[in-house]
Symmetry: C2
Subunit: 361 residues, 2 copies
């Protein structure tokens, strides 16, 4: 039906004869019908296993959906893909905004596809659920890699919580691996807890940093440097080369102060320029060295087993908390008790007991 103005405006027009529909109702119904024709799980599984990126994208969309039907379908697909997964290397890449992560991943990814690898680039960025953007949303920043048929780029899933985003990314890894991608790069923005989440889903953790002197560690969240298996100083080009070398020395000294890692690996510091490609092969050589070592000493396999266990328990613990804190009675009681605790009217432990007794009764 044509839209009729129900109240006069300054631009009031006289009612003319009713116009025919521009799009016929029949066509609309047809288009809707067509869009509803989602491929079956079997079709998507077959597509993924044959390396079809469109099937992969559609399956990932199911993982990211909030509809229960979609999630059931997603679980079916993940289960079918699991036996074909776990055959890639997973590299986490972090660094504060401005460090040149996208440019680095573009250069690094191109180098890897040049070596004959199939590269998937994923992201974990819980903030994207607020801004409705994503660190990888602006795909034009990786325009070369996007066009590469041996690369697959997927922006960060959105979600209410880091736990949700992380779960979606981790399941996405499984599908990418089943789809034949042998090198998974997972980008995360250098803020908050997302590094810990990414660290728990990758084999190798790379910290990207800027060349600069003296205060170059200031921007890094506590603990992130300790998680790094390599620190790569980006933008080591032009006038920056000297400063990058200085930074390398500083970082090497700082890393030396940390205790030995369980992997038996001593973190390396390298410099590179995503612009000139200088140093990009070194990054991959370092990663390969790491894999040779940890596959030999059994750490690689051990870590993956531990990561699986971690995600099992982490998911349970998260859900237990959500159930408690989303309970309407508990929410009221918690607010009251938080105030009482702040005013020293009740000890935190007595308040906790009160809330728990109420929840479990």
């Amino acid at each position: 039906m044509a839209h009729k103005k129900s109240h006069p405006t300054a631009l009031h027009e006289k009612d003319g004869i009713e116009q025919p529909e521009i799009v016929s109702s029949d066509s609309v119904a047809q288009i809707r019908q067509y869009r509803r024709q989602q491929p079956t799980s079997e079709q998507l599984i077959a597509g993924i296993l044959s390396g079809d990126k469109i099937a992969l994208s559609r399956a990932i969309t199911l993982i990211e959906s909030t509809s229960t039907t979609h999630l059931e379908k997603a679980n079916e697909i993940i289960k079918a893909c699991l036996p074909y997964a776990n055959k890639s290397v997973r590299v986490g890449i972090t660094g504060v905004p401005g460090v040149g992560k996208s440019t680095f991943i573009e250069a690094f990814g191109k180098y890897l596809t040049g070596l004959g690898k199939k590269v998937a680039v994923l992201a974990v960025d819980p903030s994207s659920s607020i801004s409705h953007g994503s660190i990888l949303g602006d795909k034009t920043r990786m325009e070369e890699l996007v066009k590469d048929e041996n690369a697959y780029i997927r922006p960060s899933a959105s979600g209410e919580s880091l736990g949700g985003v992380a779960r979606k990314t981790r399941e996405t890894i499984i599908l990418c691996e089943a789809c034949g991608f042998d090198t998974i790069l997972i980008e995360t923005v250098g803020v908050g807890q997302s590094e810990t989440a990414v660290h728990s889903m990758v084999d190798f953790f790379l910290l990207l940093n800027l060349a600069g002197a003296g205060d170059e560690l200031q921007g890094i969240k506590r603990g992130i440097m300790e998680m790094a298996d390599a620190i790569v100083i980006n933008k080591a080009d032009g006038d920056n080369i000297k400063r990058a070398r200085l930074a390398k020395t500083e970082y090497n000294r700082a890393l030396h102060l940390f205790p030995m890692k369980n992997s038996g690996w001593s973190p390396k510091v390298t410099t590179c320029s995503a612009l000139t490609q200088e140093g990009i092969p070194d990054v991959w050589n370092t990663i390969e060295e790491y894999f040779t070592l940890t596959r030999e000493n059994g750490y690689f396999h051990q870590k993956r087993k531990e990561q699986n266990q971690y995600w099992l328990l982490e998911t349970i613990n998260e859900q237990l908390k959500q159930n408690f804190y989303n309970h309407p009675d508990i929410q009221i009681l918690l607010e009251e008790n938080k105030k009482a605790v702040q005013n020293n009217e009740i000890s935190p432990f007595a308040a906790a007991k009160l809330l728990l007794d109420n929840y479990f009764k």
Copy 2:
């Protein structure tokens, strides 16, 4: 009744006439009755508020008890003490075994009581529940401080979990403060998660370290150095003085690499000798400087508020987990699913969902 052997042994004796009891049943009943005469909560509260160390000890024993009646009584006492608590400074002291924590605390505690302060020394050491010992169990290592009437030393509570030990210690702080102790030193052994727990209950966190060159940071658990408000290099005496000074420079350089703390405080490095007392006053001066700064900028009060909130939520989260993981059905199901996850038969997230559905149904 005298015990009679019910089966013959190689050392079989002929039955003689029945011997009379060595202790009369009446006396036993009397002793039991006497022991049962516990002071009332009111008596203990009055005792604590008047500065009676025996009442304090008895109340702490109630906190540490596993009996429900005792815990109810303990909660009553804590509630009554809360308005008189929160008036001390709380200093956490950590360091790897062998660093000389006990000797340092003895020297430091004596120095503080010499300044007219009332010092309580507590400990958080979850391992003591396994060894049934305690880092402070051997009180003879602090023989001077033990005899000091302005000091109170209490070994670590024992408990099944760090959470339990931490709760008990935190409640003990409240009672000590209500008892008039204005300086609370909390010792923890430099292993595992106990530093984080202690860090969440103190105002100032001190890392004790050994003088040594080059590799002096090796023994420190990740993250502990970042929590420290001061690093004190102990045993800076005799031949060690030069090495201690070198270590001081190294630590200062390392601390410089960490980001600014929310407190606005730049961590300090000092050297001291618990043996010669050299440098002990400097440690206290540093702590006082910190308190002046953080009381002025409001961080002191803010941190305590956050700590209270932390313990409220932490206790709830711990208990939610315990309830889940101690459920007999869940325990069986969890074992099965852990195996399935390891063999890549099910994703960690699908397994978690299965367990949670079972728990909440």
